[in-house]
Symmetry: C2
Subunit: 504 residues, 2 copies
């Protein structure tokens, strides 16, 4: 008899982490590559997750005083030219629209026709097109602040793409705000990175570190970029959200000016901030295991799936009736203030196959119910995160379901936090730094290194070493970073520590 | 003393209907033209309305068994070529991406670089790109049906654009389903036009007529297009949503095939259906008046606005306290099952100015509260739709608010239905038809005609007359259309009546 495979996902994480990632997505039926280079198709299970993320984030944006709006997909080429660093940052990856119709090609097929006077680019981000509106809307201090968010698709022509993590087109939200003072804009920048951290930790169960980007890693055109950084299971860092203080760079480039209380004309202060479908990649790599996706309950499209078990039509009828009643009872319970999301899978399918279907899709709790369970007024309850199963009385299950889901949510967070702490260290010299980020042998598939906290003085002094080791400065953490020290490489006095890591 | 203008919107509907429409949008701060030809900026008040529409429609789609997903924005040019009628319909209005980066132009500025091997078009609709996925996903009858919806932006390069009604880029949803049988696909097509009608009538308070499009007016590539048609206040028709039975046209063009129960390979049957931000234009033109926007309560972002009135700081404090309590009480009430959406406008602004601000934005109910009202435990309640104001006791207001909003919703629908009925007639000869659609004098700004119900036999017989009068066949209504008759123009036997009208 052939032995059943030990894990649902092949290869496993330790065998080949990047390929494991692709296989988890495939097994959970979340997304796939499309015929269009670098663009993905987000399938229903992946999109439901995005919808839950959107809902939670959108509520937070509105609670913090923002409104949604929508600005054009296309940006005149000349708009991009206005802010020098910005164009430098995005010109190399813009999809360019040059024609506005197709006509029959004499050699067969179609060809572009109707050339545009000025080429248009598909937004890689919307500072320039939204700024054009803001320049019109802002006249006086009375018009400020403007706090608007947009849910949209953007496009950056990436050469190497990976589902969710890096795709040419992706979905995101971009907030764009305008303020009368630097202080207020800085406060907004901080508030939004805090909102992102709260979402990452509270909803995604993904611990993150808040910090400032160094000059070389900043958003093109920003004065300061704050980010949240998370550690994946292979110990690489992933930037999960950014919030930019743009100073007066964009308001000067776009003439966003207002009359202050004294009637003087001032340039406004702007911010922008965004998270994208990349968060789904981060979620997968934070919690999933060698059996597939593991979802934190707060974001899981289905939190509890009920699996009726029966042998014949007669059993089927009363098992289904029991299961439908149980569903209603479970739905009347809540987790984190929201009604429990329960599904019944009554498809005609072998039990083992059906179980693995939901394991691979990361449903937090599976509940099997057969005639024997009904006789005992009980059910067989399995947790996706620990893999453990226990029989539970029906009443007990219903009463404890909210707590059980909350436990899972917390344990996922704790486990990810422990992983990060176990793989973080302080390094104060080059030799240790090199050893930390160098694989023990060249062929080792084993990832190496984690988060190294190191003092550093001049970013440019580090460049050759970081390039050689393929390490980047993820951020200068905001917390516990007040004591000065010495640069790990040059020994120069250094005000702050940075987090160094290999990164996605 | 200068006399106050009689209406908030100038020109009025009877003076210049198209310009009135633009001015209503401007006065309600819903949208504006952007620097990008034909593309609009949807401002927060307009976008909130769209969000409410999305929420209601999305719930209905999910209730009827659909899931959301997301497919690429860009479509390879060759995909469009596969379905002959489809390419014919869309090739003339496609934005074409030909390059993937920008480089410095030796003459200054930037220029497109990195030419693509195959041009990509920005989706004007997604049948071809979604069909490419479906062709991969569908193997067996077990994979069917597929019922997916997508919320997305699309782009059609329109020459004459108008905010919401016709813009190059617009937001919409597009459902795309695949079925094993023609019957099931036809049923889906009908179900979705019914969903649209239910939404239009129940949420937008806009009566619609369901019917089939004639061959000349069908979606390019469809076997049958069903639509909902509404009458605007200028008596022109507006197509507010369409649902297409695509037969096997797209499955043959794209090889969407499945093995049936007998193991035979069959082409699948597909449908697509969509509504767009055009609905916002329809809403404006159905209900608004010479003072601006009028919103049906079920979709109004704010259903009740509370306007505190006070003369000094001391009054301010206790009036605001009263108003905040009142807000909470009103929010605990419901309309159509949803909590009442209440806002307080406590901005420091003249009372008249503030009142008109909300009148122009179409807030269904305004409630003014000053010290005298508080003394009487009362409030001064004004309806946007009728313009009537009455004093109401606080308790009475709270208890009746849900019913009051439901009344407004119903009366808006009834008024629009009466308008349509008053402006519909049956016509059975050319002379009457000509008279109905011809202005009494050339310079008359007065619109003319409405919905003419006429029997017709051959569509092509009518073409010269319809072209001359700028009239189109809106649809062949599904209801009360079983008796045969004679073509109003040719006298040939005709099976059905069509609705003839000028249209947006």
């Amino acid at each position: 008899m052939a032995k059943a495979p030990q894990n649902a996902i092949s290869p496993t994480r330790s065998e080949d982490y990047p390929e494991w990632y692709q296989q988890v997505i495939k097994a959970a039926d979340m997304a796939e590559a499309s015929p269009v280079r670098g663009c993905m198709v987000i399938k229903p299970w992946g999109y439901m997750l995005w919808e839950n993320m959107q809902r939670a984030l959108d509520d937070k944006f509105k609670e913090t005083g923002h409104q949604n709006a929508y600005f054009p997909l296309l940006i005149p080429m000349s708009f991009l030219e206005k802010e020098a660093e910005h164009v430098e940052g995005f010109a190399k990856e813009c999809a360019v629209v040059t024609h506005h119709r197709l006509e029959p090609d004499p050699n067969g097929g179609l060809r572009p026709a109707g050339p545009l006077e000025e080429p248009l680019i598909i937004r890689p981000t919307s500072e320039t097109i939204i700024g054009a509106s803001y320049a019109k809307w802002v006249q006086s201090w009375r018009d400020l602040p403007i706090k608007i968010n947009q849910w949209a698709n953007v496009l950056r022509w990436e050469m190497r793409t990976r589902l969710f993590l890096r795709t040419a087109e992706f979905l995101w939200q971009e907030g764009h705000t305008v303020h009368a003072t630097a202080e207020e804009a800085i406060e907004e920048t901080q508030m939004m990175v805090d909102v992102y951290a709260e979402f990452a930790e509270g909803w995604m169960a993904m611990p993150v570190i808040r910090g400032s980007k160094t000059a070389a890693e900043r958003f093109p055109g920003a004065v300061d970029t704050l980010s949240i950084e998370a550690m994946m299971q292979d110990r690489k860092a992933l930037q999960a959200g950014t919030s930019h203080f743009l100073g007066q760079n964009f308001s000067k480039a776009q003439q966003i000016q207002f009359q202050d209380h004294d009637g003087d004309l001032q340039y406004a202060w702007t911010t922008s901030w965004g998270v994208s479908t990349r968060l789904i990649g981060a979620l997968i790599m934070t919690h999933s295991d060698d059996d597939g996706l593991v979802l934190p309950p707060r974001l899981a499209p289905t939190q509890v799936v009920l699996l009726p078990i029966y042998r014949d039509e007669q059993q089927r009828d009363y098992v289904l009736e029991y299961v439908h009643d149980l569903k209603k009872e479970l739905q009347s319970q809540t987790m984190a203030g929201a009604p429990i999301r329960v599904d019944i899978d009554d498809r005609d399918m072998r039990g083992g196959e059906k179980k693995w279907y939901h394991v691979k899709r990361g449903v937090p709790i599976r509940v099997e119910v057969g005639p024997k369970d009904i006789a005992k007024q009980a059910a067989f309850v399995s947790r996706r995160d620990t893999g453990k199963s226990v029989p539970l009385g029906r009443e007990e299950l219903v009463e404890s379901i909210g707590d059980l889901l909350a436990d899972i949510q917390q344990e996922l967070f704790d486990r990810a936090l422990k992983h990060r702490e176990d793989n973080s260290c302080k390094i104060d010299n080059e030799a240790d730094f090199r050893a930390y980020f160098t694989p023990k042998n060249e062929d080792s598939p084993e990832p190496h290194g984690g988060f190294a906290y190191c003092y550093f003085a001049e970013e440019k002094d580090l460049e050759p070493l970081l390039k050689e080791l393929k390490v980047t400065i993820r951020c200068i953490p905001q917390v516990n970073n007040d004591q000065p020290g010495k640069c790990f490489l040059t020994g120069k006095p250094a005000a702050k520590q940075g987090i160094f890591a290999k990164a996605y």
